[in-house]
């Protein structure tokens, strides 16, 4: 126990300032009102859905929960069920074998809800494109609010995408 406490004390707090939202990532205008956004901005629940990725994007989602990025300190946390979620964070391409599961997960998420598609594959279908096995980009299957490109996008880019989804998008926030 002594060694564990010593390691914690020696490490200190390594979390870095979060990035700002980036409006260029937005796909459709902000649909949510001020009041809802104010709530989401302080307590956002995310459900991650891997709709067929190579698992590269998942590595960076994990990183985002690590100590440098420390997403949870912003009141944003990952939850185990779409029923508890405000935002779906979807990696793609959407494989045809995952299409139904993604649609059902979207349907199970209560309104108002947001969708952030991540990675080149989530944004465009990427190298896998559309084929007998792949339905391509996420917005081919469910509505997408914000899309974050990258192969995979960095944790900072992912955070930007999530923060953009819950920002007022050009409108001034109280």
């Amino acid at each position: 126990m002594y060694r564990l406490l010593k390691q914690i004390a020696k490490t200190g707090i390594v979390s870095e300032p979060p990035p700002h939202p980036d409006e260029t990532l937005r796909q459709i205008d902000q649909q949510l009102g001020e009041v809802i956004l104010r709530h989401f901005g302080r307590a956002l629940a995310i459900r991650h859905v891997d709709a067929g990725s190579c698992n590269g994007c998942e590595l960076e989602i994990h990183s985002m929960n690590g100590p440098y990025y420390n997403l949870e300190r912003l009141g944003i946390k990952f939850v185990a069920s779409p029923r508890h979620a405000d935002l779906l964070l979807v990696t793609g391409p959407v494989s045809r074998n995952m299409e139904l599961a993604l649609k059902r997960t979207y349907a199970a998420t209560p309104d108002p809800k947001l969708v952030v598609a991540i990675g080149d594959c989530g944004c465009t279908g990427g190298i896998f494109g559309e084929s007998y096995a792949s339905s391509g980009r996420v917005s081919n299957v469910i509505p997408v609010d914000v899309a974050v490109p990258g192969c995979p996008p960095t944790p900072i880019a992912l955070m930007q995408g999530i923060l953009t989804a819950i920002s007022s998008g050009g409108r001034d926030r109280a």
């Binding site: 859905v49 067929g52 990725s53 690590g66 391409p93 494989s95 995952m98 599961a101 997960t105 007998y132």
Partner: protein, 518 residues
Amino acid sequence: MEEHRVTELALHTQPVAGAMPAFRATVGAAELRGLCEQTRAQKARLVALWGSDETTRGGGYALHLALALGSGLLWLTLPLAREHPRYPSIADIYPCANRMQRATYDLLGIHAQDSPDQRKWVRHRAWPGGVFPLRKAFPIGTSFPPSDDRYPFVKVEGEGVHEIPVGPVHAGTIEPGHFRFSIVGEKILRLEERLCYTHKGIEKLFENMTLAEGARLAGRVSGDSTVAYAWAYAMAVEGATGTEPPSRALGLRAILLELERIANHLGDLGYLGNDVALSFGFFQFWRLKEDLLRLQGELFGHRYLMDQVVPGGVARDLPRDQAERLLARLEQIQSEVVALKAIYDDHAGAQDRFVMTGQVLPELAEKMGLVGFAGRASGIKHDLRVDYPVLPYQQAGVRMATHTRGDVAARVSVRFDEMFESMRLVRTLASQLAPGAIRAPLADCIPGKCGVGWVEGWRGEVLIALESADANRIHRAHAHDPSWQNWPLLERAVLGNIVPDFPLINKSFNLSYSGQDL
């Protein structure tokens, strides 16, 4: 040695050009089972089984097997008829062949006769039965209305038995797959996996690419093993084209591969702490992993080293001063991992959860063909870097980490040992880097050439078996992930354990869905 082994099997073989020792033979379907019984008796493991469509080359279909013999990789090809292609199942000899045989049927319509398990595997609802997407006549863009997807899971019956279906969308940030638990109380009586939710048509995509274009796709078969796949792919292409990568490139590839091993073990050791409620471990290991990823991003332009290994060599050099920075960072990480290992080892709560949890005993591991670090944690002493020490591992010399208890604790122990060994290897490899070019131009390829890439990735052995078509295009590229072998062992490892230990056991293996699903 090669001659001897091959004589033992009474086979005429042709050497396959390339970095790894490999040889190829054509056999008839009637000889298959006898041959497999012989190789099994010689303790040769089945690395991969796949099929191909040869109708565009004047044939029918073909079944392919890759077997790891003491002297190298034996690539067996069985030509099969154009009508009703079939071969005798070998799943009773090599249990790991079961899912590969089913996948081969779903993709190519090649039938494994007398197999008790004829259920579909890759096919869910994306295409109907009787349609085979890897056949040459099937256009890649064909799509079908979703078909009926009934899959008969094995039912466990009895008083108090019930099922827990989990997935494909999981509770954590992991890839999609379905787990069907049959339990009594909290105890797991049976686990049945259903995978292939992330099937993206990777092998079909390869057939629409040139040899050079395929490299980027190979690096995205399983993102966490991008270096292993990119190297295996490059090795196969270099063999097929007769391209000799410069020795500096080989040294750099090995450095990249060991960095990938270190990064993955760091991340998983953190999660293994997290899964036993020691979130301290998660934050500490992910801090160290991030330290490494950031430097990799700076030095190589990609945090996970994607697209660094290319056919002919590597994309970027590592100048002396940058190598020094890398070594200094690794030294700092290593000293912290030493401290963290002592904390894990002494932590009664963590050890209580790790020890005797999710055990795979050596006998079962051998029978079912467990590979990679998980295999080594169950006494399976194989590591391609040791078994076939080609350059640059020949010079660096790899010390194999093993354990015999086969539980979560053993896999944790082997992961720590392999990480320390990889750190030593990076130091040694960096000091032995040859001067000179980092990339050789890729020679043109004549149609019908074959190549093999076989690399010990962090999870286990990755295989790429490739045949060329005309105009430097790919006739067939098969990518094989070690997860094929290890997923069925996860079903066995959890038996008798409690459901809440499943995430821990699962993470201790950390198998790839994408790499298996293709």
